[in-house]
Symmetry: C2
Subunit: 252 residues, 2 copies
DNA sequence: TTCTCGCATTGACACAGATCAAAGGGGCAC
DNA sequence: GTGCCCCTTTGATCTGTGTCAATGCGAGAA
């Protein structure tokens, strides 16, 4: 019981948690994508086991030495960066099959914090060994590059959102993005549970929590969604999507 | 003469432009970083030559098939993404020694536009061959990963800027970033020429061009910088830096 | 040289979203 | 089960930045 009380103790690796990529139902979303059986077995052999995190625990913090990247096996994470003066910016939310920690490669130290938003499990992928293996397995190498590139493209999307969209567009884009990602994992794309607070959504979207709350209420008033605390149901997907087009519907 | 008139004709590769990495004064900033002589020669042999662009020409456009990444040899670029409805967001400005095009790896197509903001030259680095070589040269592989990771970290910085900073902080951060990058290339870190318009700065910073202009004027009024059109001189670097700390100077 | 056009500056005003404030409501710990 | 605290909602007001508009300046063309 009381071993779980202190949530900030970094848990040790749990070798018993190890599950082979080949047995993992996320393999089509995750790093092993496109590997044949023998290559997947080789990837399996380097994955250092799993790690369980309770809600609120840090997977890593800015400044931690970089050794591994992580694949989310289950649960939900946020990453954030903070300035010296205490302001922080949520840079992303990660769900099953997504890769965390690539920010650390450039300086050998992590540059952001990764926090579990619910009880979660990750696979540890030691990076030096991954590089070694990927120099032998071309498809693994190429897929790793794709995963990193995808992160860059995703970031560009967030810049677009932060730089050009108004509050309701941002929230609509956020909900549609979650919807699509849940859907890709076999969950409903119209009904889901938000793992993050209004404040965290706001930080991600460059808005204050009150603005996020008001936008949710407005969407509900207009029959686009129903929302009750963290439970969201999308009632009118097409109209929600149409919010991303500007009022005049002009074509460039 | 008139061959230069149509700026949108995509120029062919100019094999005569090829300059060996080993002869390039940017090699410490660019991809060859950390390679020994023999490995650098191997990298040289795959670089497909250079390409010259006039001001205003596209290096690539969103949707173009991805084949190469590019190293800026000289000049200045911007990258931007645009929504269906015509709004666009500048995602970065690239100068000598920086790498362009990594957004294209994930989908095999470029996802943004890259435009020369002045007459420029780039080195073409065919990506498939780069992967092949990097699987043989470990330090090249690792450095490529660092370059991609650095791009991710940079993007997080932009998100921070867009999500949490006010107009004058954004502009200060922008100027300090340029200052630092010019300095790293041996140019003055207090006096430089902006290659982009107020509108492009505004797009990058999530501001309207009038707001950028007003912020420049305010900085000048307060003796932080002197600015005349595109020519900027930083007069009080420490005070400019102090703008990035919040008014109350609180420590987190 | 002069003309021109795109870029930049500056002012007045409007408005989206921030801020400040107060009151519910629900989930988690005990 | 019960109680507390955090999260959320909603209202009133304020303000930074956007919008609209006019003028100014400078680089490049002829």
């Amino acid at each position: 019981m009381h071993a779980n009380v202190k949530q900030n103790v970094v848990p040790l690796i749990t070798p018993g948690l190890k599950v082979a990529c080949s047995q993992c139902n996320l393999r089509e979303l995750c790093l092993p994508f496109g590997l044949d059986d023998t290559d997947m077995a080789r990837l399996d052999s380097l994955i250092g086991g799993g790690r369980k995190l309770k809600r609120g625990q840090h997977l890593y913090r800015a400044g931690d030495p970089f050794e591994s990247i992580f694949a989310v096996r289950s649960g939900f994470f946020k990453t954030d960066v903070l300035t010296e003066d205490g302001r922080d910016q949520v840079t992303g939310f990660q769900m099953a099959g997504e890769i965390l920690g690539m920010d650390g490669i450039s300086t050998e130290h992590h540059t952001c914090n990764a926090v579990a938003l619910e009880d979660s499990e990750v696979c540890l992928i030691p990076f030096t060994e991954l590089e070694l293996l990927s120099s032998e397995i071309h498809s693994l190498q190429h897929h790793l590059h794709k995963v990193m590139s995808r992160e860059i493209v995703r970031d560009h999307g967030v810049m677009m959102l932060l730089g050009t969209m108004r509050a309701e567009e941002r929230l609509a884009a956020f909900l549609l993005n979650l919807s699509q990602r849940f859907s890709a994992r076999g969950y409903s794309h119209t009904e889901f549970h938000l793992r993050m607070t209004r404040e965290e959504i706001g930080s991600y979207l460059g808005l204050k929590l009150e603005t996020v709350s008001r936008a949710f209420s407005r969407f509900q008033d207009e029959g686009l969604i129903s929302v009750q605390q963290k439970h969201v149901r999308i009632l009118d997907l097409p109209r929600l999507k149409s919010l991303l087009a500007p009022p005049d519907g002009r074509i460039a």
